[in-house]
Subunit: 331 residues, 2 copies
């Protein structure tokens, strides 16, 4: 049976606590300010992008129990700008404050193996994968024909870090050393023609408001452009959005989430057995590939996230313009 | 001959100083932050809306010479959120920093008599008016048939304050006392069917980018709704925008300005002598009747103002949606 949604709506002037001091925290703070909410930023940095626009900040480590408790008591709800918030930190905060998105989303997103299994269990296709806990595991996987693929640490990977390419010729010991002898997964290559992402918001009352699907191009593992609309057919876009919906309902998610997917060519016809969409990973937070929503939508991802965690009605996520977001190359 | 425009473009991360701590200062600060600029707020208040989102603030009086000088030296450009910045304050600041909009705009806008004469000299129609420096002046004006009308202090009036209605029966001494024995003007009534406003930006290079004309409804002297598009014919809208353009070019204006106009019925035909548009007043700042630009335009008035004073190219002010902004009634 579905959980009865419990909504706690913040009053105007209430304070949102955000873990993390970076650009996403800054943009969340700006969105909160536009909605008449105050922002308290928490993080170990002494000077960072989010500080410049926040009403208050606490400079403390993520494992500073006393500082976390003071922080939680001084705010009306806690959220975060990055998915690697230590689970213990989230649990400590949850003793004194509501924390959104829920810790289940953190737990799943922080571990690639757990994430892949979770998505698979929800019927969301993922690339073939294998848990790798040692060089010996990697050797067996290569022998079993799982190469070529990518060896990825289960935790703390982003922007292509903690990853290495594996072929049938790879020396397992060296490759496992390269990723720091960390628990990992070996992911089989996926033949895709496009990368897309679904950014969507889910409110405390279960309302789901997706943005249009974006098409993303990465360079050197870093997001380079997002183009909306994506050049995929409407039925596929609908399917991608339905996957995000299923995932967010399953996690009883509150806030904005980004789900990255591979769009695979040649499915249908002779290759009917292959799914058109394969999930890569999801981020339980506002997402770099959703920045275009600031310029092209009635309500941007940052405002949606703040509305969701504040227990407010979600805004209209409709898009009024076609848009390309491009990473500035500073030379 | 036209002045050669001199453009000083701020680098990302530069600091904008804003005089005034209120809601417009807050929205300017948020726009500056979105553009990657820092904000330093100056004003006598200890806790106010703009403080919550600014990187720095100085709590000091507008006549504190030492504080003003420190402030001016710590920022890269100075602007303001209200038109009653004392001229001496602006002059002091201008010794150490660039100040936009220019002081000429402040000087004209701060005095209703100077303002009316200035607009008239530019061929922008205004209501019939008469300078009133005493009860005796008022008595003569009433005798000369200038009533009914509104007696308004020349300086420091806003939202209907410092005004009183004058009829042929008004006792001049009492009416002049009511507005505090201030130098004033008596403005003849204008028969209008709509109030409209033009919000426009002008860059340091002279580029002019208007927003669409808004139609405004006031309640008890306070702006109640702004609706865009205004229900006026396109030629009249064009004319209104041309008036703002003329005024801003004349003042060598930099930033956003709001020009309020009365739209008068029945001109043309038998009443060809009466102008369709009569200017009420202008504000040398972002304007309450331009808030809709935040939701309905590609670039809002706050971003345009920041772009202008930063010496950056103005954005596209195009409107993507029809819109009504309505004042919240807190009950």
């Amino acid at each position: 049976m579905a959980q009865e949604p419990h909504v706690t709506a913040l009053a105007p002037g209430a304070t949102i606590g955000i873990l993390g001091t970076g650009q996403l925290g800054r943009m969340l703070a700006l969105a909160a300010a536009r909605l008449g909410l105050k922002v308290h930023i928490y993080g170990p940095e002494s000077a960072a992008p989010a500080h410049q626009v926040a009403d208050a900040f606490t400079m403390a480590a993520y494992d500073d129990a006393a500082a976390l408790e003071r922080f939680a008591r001084s705010v009306d709800v806690v959220s975060y700008e990055f998915e690697n918030v230590p689970e213990e930190t989230a649990q400590r905060l949850a003793q004194s404050a509501q924390v959104f998105p829920p810790s289940a989303a953190l737990r799943v997103a922080q571990d690639r193996l757990v994430e892949k299994r979770h998505l698979e269990a929800l019927g969301i296709p993922v690339a073939p994968f294998q848990a790798i806990d040692s060089a010996a595991d990697l050797e067996s996987a290569i022998k079993a024909g799982l190469a070529p693929g990518i060896l990825k640490t289960r935790r703390f990977g982003y922007d292509g870090k903690g990853q290495t390419r594996i072929t049938s010729d790879t020396a397992p010991t060296e490759a496992f050393a390269e990723i720091g002898h960390q628990p990992a997964i070996l992911e089989g290559f996926v033949e895709f023609d496009r990368e897309i992402s679904v950014i969507a918001a889910r409110g405390q009352d279960g309302t789901f408001v997706p943005f249009d699907v974006a098409e993303n191009v990465h360079k050197d593992g870093i997001l380079h452009t997002s183009t909306v609309p994506a050049k995929i057919d409407p039925a596929t876009a609908k399917k991608a959005i339905a996957m995000a919906h299923r995932l967010m309902d399953n996690l009883n998610y509150v806030g904005v989430l980004g789900l990255e997917l591979f769009h695979c060519p040649g499915s249908g016809g002779a290759r009917q057995d292959r799914p058109t969409l394969i999930a890569n990973e999801f981020a339980p937070r506002v997402h770099n590939s959703g920045h275009w929503s600031m310029d092209a939508c009635l309500t941007c991802q940052f405002e949606q996230h703040v509305r969701a965690i504040a227990g407010w009605p979600l805004g209209d996520g409709g898009r009024h313009s076609d848009v390309v977001t491009s990473a500035l190359t500073m030379t």
